[in-house]
Symmetry: C2
Subunit: 341 residues, 2 copies
């Protein structure tokens, strides 16, 4: 990246931590708050909703673009992950909101675009067994849901976000609810590591942005979908909604999930041109990611320790393959304002 | 600790991160540098040399006392590790040096004395398999030398020091050469995690403090030694010195180490009242901790990649049991100023 010509851009693009730090130092001296939106590029409306969240709450907003090798397994899509820098910068800068303090329009202030060597001074192998150097893991929070089929994914995420937080030193940081396990795991990490930039309460989680046509959760990986694949991709959300409705009606967890699985099974049977495969639908406690027992109902939860008054919400989440694209989505059951803020 | 009455002390003793941070914020606003000396208490002249190093280079000096459960294996001496808070505070405050900027005498400014819950919000088990929450590991730097017999030790150290650095946010931090692998591993960690407080170059390593009678490296664990044990404890350093001399004379690594082992063997044979057992003597590269080949000599190193002009020094280190006390020590071969600074 350092030898790559950067596209012309009216805001600074920092490719090194050292150059960013000079800018950050000035912001601190001026008493300005810095909001941070970490991304892997391929920006879509979901990222932009995080950017707008940051613009609304901070004097300055920094967006990072870094496709993190450590969170891809060797068989995953690191090489083909979409890279669309010029377009990313263009749509980033189109985001403008009214400053709450003055009449001026606010837009992003800087982009952090580090090289792999800048982020991993010893280099980084996707093969965990040959990795060298410092890694961060969040034990007992990385093995459920997404961690089940991607066993080293969250280790890669926790490591790169620790580095990014140390480099950027944000006042607030913005993550999407779509990756709910990631966001809650990072809040756990920030708490455990006693980080102050951001503090746990300043790690914000913004509701999932969806395609209004069928509520498909926006994702950079949606660009992989064929026309036929895109036509059925909304099925996962439909299944989760079905689970949620059954849950509200008082059915047990096992019954609810069975109904959701049925939705996907029906679409799968009707789809000849596209291969659909459910990975999982599950319900987990949002504080410790514990899997809910099959026999639990909304009422038994409410009267007990979960989802009730002051109780933590339940994560209803799922993953589904559409041909070679893996889609994820989730809905929070209970008082989501405890999490999404 | 939070319910324990603190001894009277003329400088603030912070038991929570939040209370410390208020103090730290004021220091930042006043543009004052903060030196940090992390300890497990049981202070001795070795710690005090770090304190004086910090007093000389920083406007303010913070010492932490925290016996970190995560770096003790279940069979190790967590419960019996010496805890001497009142004496620690007394001798800490006796350290005074002339301020380079004015005529005033400088002494320590604050003590950070957190509870286990403050440092590990989810609690901490010494049994790694049942640990929950966030941990930091420095892969490929934690398995050699001390990591060989203490496989999870450096994971505990890296984790707690990450937390302490995030809590304290020091300008400079001070570690002793006695724990050379720990200090270099932490410098690696600070580099990898892109930490700025301290920056890698501001992680200082201070030469080992020794008992002038026999050059025994000072250690809190020396208090475990019986009179007979103390009388032979200097043997490890004597053995390392013998290895160093043979190395300077051009002997191969294997020959040098054999001579060192012989020194310990001789003392062992003559000691009836005390049990001596060598754990290891080894030579490792200081940049990647790679074990040197048996056939290497000072000349073949100098002409090659190690210890030569501009080359990295070699860590000559060892560990020895005296009854139930494990002692460690090391000597740097080559240009130690690259490391100890």
């Amino acid at each position: 990246m350092s030898t790559m010509a950067l596209p012309p851009c009216p805001i600074p693009i920092f490719t090194t931590v050292a150059s960013y730090r000079e800018w950050r130092h000035k912001a601190r001296m001026q008493g300005k708050s810095v909001g941070f939106v970490p991304t892997m590029g391929a920006l879509h409306e979901g990222h932009l909703s995080l950017v707008r969240g940051s613009l609304a709450e901070n004097d300055l907003t920094v967006l990072s673009i870094f496709v993190n090798p450590a969170q891809f397994a060797p068989h995953e899509d690191l090489a083909t992950y979409p890279r669309t820098l010029e377009q990313d910068l263009r749509i980033l800068l189109e985001q403008k909101i009214q400053s709450p303090k003055s009449s001026e329009l606010r837009s992003a202030s800087a982009v952090f675009l580090p090289t792999v060597t800048e982020m991993y001074p010893l280099g980084i192998s996707q093969d965990v067994s040959s990795q060298k150097g410092t890694f961060v893991e969040v034990k007992d929070f990385s093995e459920q849901m997404e961690g089940k089929t991607r066993p080293t994914f969250f280790r890669g995420v926790a490591t790169v976000v620790t580095k990014l937080f140390n480099a950027i030193e944000p006042t607030n940081a913005y993550f999407g609810q779509k990756d709910i396990q990631q966001a809650l795991l990072l809040r756990r990490m920030v708490t455990d590591l006693l980080l102050s930039h951001p503090s746990p309460q300043n790690l914000r989680i913004i509701p999932t942005a969806r395609d209004p046509r069928d509520n498909l959760a926006l994702s950079s990986r949606n660009t992989y979908l064929s026309t036929e694949g895109r036509a059925v991709a909304g099925t996962l959300y439909k299944a989760l909604k079905t689970v949620q409705e059954a849950w509200e009606q008082g059915k047990t967890k096992a019954e609810c999930i069975k109904l959701g699985e049925k939705i996907i099974e029906e679409v799968k049977e009707k789809s000849d041109d596209v291969e659909i495969k459910l990975d999982y639908i599950e319900m987990n406690d949002s504080t410790d990611f514990e899997v809910l027992s099959d026999g639990l109902t909304k009422v038994s939860c409410s009267s007990g320790y979960r989802e009730g008054e002051g109780g933590s919400p339940i994560i209803l989440s799922g993953a589904m393959w559409v041909d070679k694209t893996r889609l994820i989505d989730n809905i929070l059951l209970g008082d989501s304002s405890q999490i999404v803020r």
